[in-house]
Subunit: 160 residues, 2 copies
DNA sequence: TCGTTCCTGTGAACGGTTCGCAGGTAGCCG
DNA sequence: CGGCTACCTGCGAACCGTTCACAGGAACGA
């Protein structure tokens, strides 16, 4: 359960530049590592380790799940990868870039709304003013009730 | 990993009033259930299931871990209990009351700052205005960098 | 006090993740 | 271009937190 603190985000254009960065850091670029990068570059949304190991259900060669986890950890330390959690369930992994998406999770319908960080800058500023805290909503979502469910709930209360 | 959606929070003064509420709902008040309530009333902070099963390391009779989980789920459906996650690691359980504490988790030093909901009302209002979203920070924490770590980080950057 | 139904305790199973180890290979050096 | 060596892989077993199945036990209404 111990998760080494990730390095600062490092954006790479493609698998090759990511590989170069690995080598710069004295790490080897094995087939298994390249594959993890390949999959992460191919998909544009956060994915579970299992899905990476399956090569996106066959679009890529499959690889060993244990190695996938190890490599995700390594890549996260380098700063090429980040992981997040959207509610319960397995961790999700994605390429790290400068300003990762942030998330609003509705607890009653499980809908996840993806927002760009700029939309939360005022929230962030407020938290910083009040607590000196620099918030990121890219690791855990903001949990609550979405507009639809809130409306539905108040309608039900009025007319059960 | 499926978590039944919890009922609305129901505050009880003590184990007896909680027990009464259970019976009102047609649920039995067994020794095992009473014990879970006993432990939750005895501690003032969120605890893991394992700690409940151990009877707070011996202050109470220990009980079966499986039953503890089952009963926590039941109590959560009734609305007497809520659960939350502070970073990675096991889920934590606490008595539900009207306005539960909310949390700021520093990703670099793992410090958890507990805040009373009123302190986040402006943040909540902002989120509601912008997204129609009613946010609660009592289930997942707000993750980011605390003031101390932010200061330390910028100092290190200036003088590595 | 009895009966029914719900609940318990136990053990096994689960999903997600980590570990230990023997063998393989990336990348440096000659 | 071939060899050395440390790093990395693939495999399996183990791990943690949590859930399930089932046979026996007890809470509560009658």
């Amino acid at each position: 359960m111990t998760v080494a603190h990730p390095g600062p985000a490092v954006a790479a254009r493609d698998v090759e530049s990511a590989a170069a960065l690995m080598r710069e850091r004295g790490l080897r670029v094995s087939a298994a590592r390249r594959l993890v990068l390949e999959v992460l570059f191919a998909t544009r949304e956060p994915v579970r380790a299992e899905r990476i190991a399956s090569g996106l259900e066959g679009r890529f060669p499959r690889s060993d799940l244990g190695s996938v986890y190890r490599n995700l950890e390594t890549l996260e330390q380098v700063g090429l990868v980040r992981h997040l959690h959207l509610g319960h369930g397995p961790g999700l992994y994605a390429l790290a870039d400068g300003r990762p998406s942030e998330y609003l999770l509705c607890e009653s319908c499980d809908a996840v709304r993806v927002v760009v960080p700029a939309q939360l800058d005022r929230v962030r500023r407020l938290l910083h003013e009040r607590f000196g805290f620099e918030a990121r909503f890219s690791h855990f979502p903001i949990v609550g009730t979405c507009a639809d469910c809130a409306r539905r709930a108040s309608a039900e209360q009025a007319d059960p």
